[in-house]
Amino acid sequence: MTQAECSTDYAIEVTHLKHQYGKRVIYEDLNFKVPHGKVFALLGKNGVGKTTLIKILMGFLRPTAGDCRVFGDASHELTPETRSKIGLLFEGHLAYEFMSIEGVERFFAPFYANWKQELYYDLTGKLGLPKNHKIGNMSEGQRSQVVLGLLMAQQPEMLILDDYTMGLDAGYRRLFLDYLADYLKAGDKTVLVTSHIVQDLEKIVDEVIFLERGGYTTQMPLRDFLEGFRQYSLPKDVCREVPFKDEMIKNIEDGGANYLLYSFANFRTVAAHLAERGITPEGLEQLPMGFEDAFIGFTGRY
């Protein structure tokens, strides 16, 4: 595939990405693609390399090997033009604490051609603070609102949000999502988001990319994941072999009196699969679960 094709087909394209910190390998062979106009959630347990990946995508880390392209540019050589298309929310809502609400808007406005000042003041106006209020004197939630306001005013083609929920209560998270939903209404906007509070994402995310230790990824539409990934309980009191993970059983957790089995296979297939392995499926039952349970079931609790 040529670079031109990459730039038109995908907002982000990661191919055979390898990265390591010293001897600690984060990814060995990471591959995924993010088409334009979709909302992607990059999910995984702590320490699997979500923030590292975002740093690589934004050129703040040079990968050990492999290719990582954003709007067709190699991620470690993003042109100013490409950077102008990307709104980046840094972990912890990084901001210039020494600037005021008004000052920070005046600073960023000249950098972006489609700057929408009214969107910024619409959001920051909700804070009920004077325009000369310093960002350094704000709570994390208030600061997140300023940062979100700046991102909305920028109207970027792609938003990259690194753990936007950090330090936010339910009200601020909801506000964030409401504005994100408005931003997406404009159409053809791409969002890559990481978050520890996955249930918030259910309403806005199109696709999920699960990142696991060693750089293994699973990418699929969220709807397919929610409909296809299942939780089963298997009572412990029946005398049988202890079930184990394999190509069909993605994960097993201790559910107290039951084993909790997670799989993409349907009930009949799982029951037959267990029987084949000498584990009687007696008492096997499918349990309903929400996005967070499914996420934990997929990635494992600990």
């Binding site: 934004m58 050129g59 950077r83 912890g92 990084l94 600037m99």
Partner: protein, 222 residues
Amino acid sequence: MFASILHKEFIKLRAFWLAALALNACIIVYVLLEMLKLFRMDHAEVVWYRVIHLGQIYYEPFMYVMVITGIFLAFAQFFPEMKNHRFRISLHLPLAPHNIVLGHILVGLVAVVLILAVDVMALYIMTGLYFPSEIVHRSVFTVLPWALAGLSAYIGSTLVLLEPTWRLRIFNFVVSLGVTGLFLLPADPGAYAHILIPLFALVLFFAPSVLLPAYRFRYRKF
């Protein structure tokens, strides 16, 4: 856009700049009092003899405060940028990274130069009140290398602060110490007068070296 970078750095530095200016003003007052004390303790001809023939320097505190000013303003400007790697916000702006970094450095250097210029002017004026013009010029040529040391200390501190690895940070520290030390070698008053232009050129060429750690920060591998 470049002007926005300059304005932002101005806002960030102004309170620290005023603090540094106040510190330098205190030193100016201290040096003035030291000079007046010389004339109270001895007759004017003895003071003249000491200053002109024995090369006594009563304004030595300028040497320390100029270097401290450079280090202080570099820390005020870049330490908060390295905390949580806030500098990434600036480096994500749609401008070439070298323009962003040099914009930061330009504001810092101007801030240091303005304060050091106040020191030199103050020394020029107060020395002129009691000494002949030859001594005034010699005093100025004595402190100008110290002013270059102040600029070098600013650049050197920036080199250390922006560097992402400890190994090279120590290396940058040693290099900066060496370059800054060149301007502070013990010498007769005004001895640097004939090589001030090459020394100024050295500082000028030292300034862009901050691009190296800045790029290493921007495109790091760890």
